[in-house]
């Protein structure tokens, strides 16, 4: 009888020791618990506040799954470089959990370019083609990336970490993920998940971050400038544009080719008008599937032991600095264009140069309409906005060439 009871208690004890509840309340389990609570906060922001829900919700759920002790859905150690300086994908396939397998698409840089394909299908580049000057505003706003790189470097971050943090200033989630997965190897204090969280949180906060900077840096007279109506762009121009941009950018910055190439391929599908079925798949089914895989697997990289560090605090702080600097640089260049053109360019469209399509352009429209309700800046702001997407992809390529 005593043996049965001992066997029974041993079994119960074994089960208890193997349970997630035991792991959660022993050793460093409190960190996991805290991370789970943080994932709830992000879920709340996505569901109740509508903060980029399509990405923040999968990311926060991935965060929850990865921090459930013993669930073994994601293994950070599998993603560290092996002795020959490469990731052992065989080990990932053999020993990895579901989220490890899905994360392969991030690590192998498959998901972000495919998302760009879908974005290309949905983007109308006519405002940019009609007003090529917009490209310069899109380039100027990338100043946020490079100036944040300086700040991060001076604060003691390594080149790879500084580059990954700086790209948050590009205000483009897939680009930030693309760069950080290439630069960060998973062994440090900063992960792709940290970068993605910061990027998407601040992208959702664009309506709060940008307007005060816009009002501060422009005068009422400048905000009231009404811009000339844009010319009509022919179909031939729209078809030539993606082909030309792909060739020019890929020849100049080859490492930007996967992002820019897929963005422009998607746009060519759209503008050609002969591939309706492909567009439908690229911008709907394919993009939605990739968004789910990308979000949940990137969220999984936010393991408790990696996120509780001063460096993560630094990522969040520098992320908002990057966004603000990007906005300020765009506005500054907008003011230069205002002067050069004799007051024909409204500087507010400069802030749309940070990607965040179409939110940043909407903010330009909104702040412009505050000064003069009859002022319609939306189409003018869409030019720098889509230029910002190309600009951040080019900046990403430059960072990868210089650091990677």
């Amino acid at each position: 009888m005593g043996g049965v009871i001992e066997f029974f208690t041993n079994t119960i004890e074994g089960l208890w020791n193997d349970s997630g509840i035991h792991a959660l309340f022993s050793g460093g389990g409190w960190k996991n618990l805290l991370m789970i609570l943080i994932s709830f906060v992000f879920m709340y922001l996505a569901i109740a506040k509508g903060f980029e829900p399509l990405l923040l919700l999968p990311i926060s759920f991935g965060m929850l799954l990865t921090n459930l002790p013993m669930a073994e859905l994601y293994h950070a150690n599998l993603w560290q470089l092996s002795a020959d300086g490469h990731i052992d994908y065989g080990a990932v396939l053999r020993d990895g959990g579901l989220l490890d397998i899905l994360y392969m698409g991030v690590k192998l840089q498959i998901y972000p370019p495919l998302i760009f394909l879908g974005i290309g299908c949905m983007t109308d580049f006519s405002p940019l083609i009609a007003n090529p000057k917009s490209f310069l505003l899109g380039a100027a706003a990338q100043g946020g990336i490079f100036f944040t790189f300086v700040v991060a470097g001076l604060l003691g971050f390594t080149a790879a970490e500084a580059g990954s943090i700086a790209i948050i200033g590009g205000a483009d989630g897939p680009t930030a993920i693309y760069v950080s997965t290439r630069l960060l190897t998973g062994g440090g204090a900063i992960t792709t998940g940290n970068i993605a969280l910061a990027a998407y949180t601040y992208m959702a906060l664009v309506p709060i971050i940008q307007p005060p900077i816009m009002r501060l840096m422009t005068t009422k007279k400048q905000r009231a400038v009404k811009m000339e109506q844009l010319r009509t762009v022919s179909k031939t121009e729209k078809i030539i544009f993606p082909i030309a941009v792909t060739i020019i950018v890929s020849l100049l910055v080859p490492s930007a080719a996967p992002l820019v190439g897929m963005l422009m391929f998607g746009n060519l599908l759209k503008e050609s008008g002969v591939a309706a079925r492909l567009i439908d798949t690229a911008q709907n089914a394919l993009m939605n599937i990739i968004t789910i895989f990308l979000g949940i697997s990137v969220g999984a990289t936010t393991k408790a032991d990696q996120i509780f560090s001063l460096k993560f605090g630094g990522v969040m702080l520098l992320g908002v600095i990057a966004f603000s600097l990007g906005t300020a640089c765009g506005l500054l260049f907008g003011k230069i264009m205002y002067r050069v053109t004799g007051g024909k360019v409204n500087p507010l469209i400069g802030s749309a140069g940070v990607s965040a399509v179409p939110m940043a352009a909407r903010i330009s429209q909104k702040v412009g309409a505050e000064t003069d309700p009859t002022n319609f800046l939306l189409m003018h702001a869409m030019g720098p906005n889509v230029a910002g997407v190309i600009g951040s992809a080019v900046a990403a390529g430059v960072l990868l060439s210089v650091i990677g």
């Binding site: 560290q80 470089l81 002795a83 020959d84 300086g85 940019l128 009609a130 090529p132 000057k133 490209f135 310069l136 899109g138 380039a139 990338q142 100043g143 990336i145 490079f146 790189f149 300086v150 470097g153 001076l154 971050f157 390594t158 080149a159 790879a160 970490e161 500084a162 630069l183 190897t185 062994g187 440090g188 009404k226 109506q229 010319r231 022919s234 031939t236 121009e237 030539i240 544009f241 030309a244 941009v245 020019i248 950018v249 100049l252 910055v253 909407r362 429209q365 909104k366 009859t374 319609f376 939306l378 230029a387 600009g391 080019v394 900046a395 430059v398 960072l399 210089v402 650091i403 990677g404």
Partner: protein, 158 residues
């Protein structure tokens, strides 16, 4: 590329990595000097600006070509046009005489608008006569009423 220091020490001990690979690994772990940061930033910004400036130049050039071809296409039908309306001239003449201010406007559009007004008036038993068509100076916006209405429709959701 960033390598965890612990792993790097192991790599250095165990792996006879080539000098190039080792240098590349070391590059990511080391903190950057002020000169490196400045150089990377200036080069980075310059390359982004250069790439996008080339695209601006390309777009200006292609835009100029397409504007010219667009104008040529428009002017060709304009030259051919006088031959056709010659037969319709008598019909349109009275309206044109009543609308000197709209000499450049399309007579057909004026006729269509007038027909719409007449149709509405007919329902009430009233008849209208078009005496003149004057150009209204557009308010501060510099856009036509139709363009303003279109813009309002397109931007209202935002």
């Amino acid at each position: 590329m960033y390598i965890h220091p612990f792993l790097l020490a192991e790599v250095q001990e165990q792996l006879p990595a080539t000098e190039e690979v080792r240098q590349k690994m070391l590059q990511g772990t080391e903190k950057m000097s002020g000169t490196e940061i400045t150089a990377m930033t200036i080069v980075g910004l310059a390359v982004v600006f250069a790439a996008l400036l080339i695209l601006v130049i390309f777009l200006y050039c292609s835009g100029t070509v397409f504007k010219k071809t667009g104008k040529q296409k428009k002017s060709e039908p304009a030259k051919a046009a006088p031959a056709k309306p010659a037969s319709q001239q008598p019909k349109q003449q009275p309206k044109a005489a009543q609308a000197p201010a709209a000499a450049e406007d399309d007579g057909e559009i004026i006729a269509a608008i007038m027909a719409a007004i007449a149709a509405m008036g007919a329902a009430d038993g009233k008849a209208y006569r078009l005496r003149s068509v004057r150009q209204v100076t557009r308010g501060g916006s510099g856009r036509s009423v139709w363009a303003q209405a279109g813009l309002h429709d397109a931007t209202k959701p935002f």
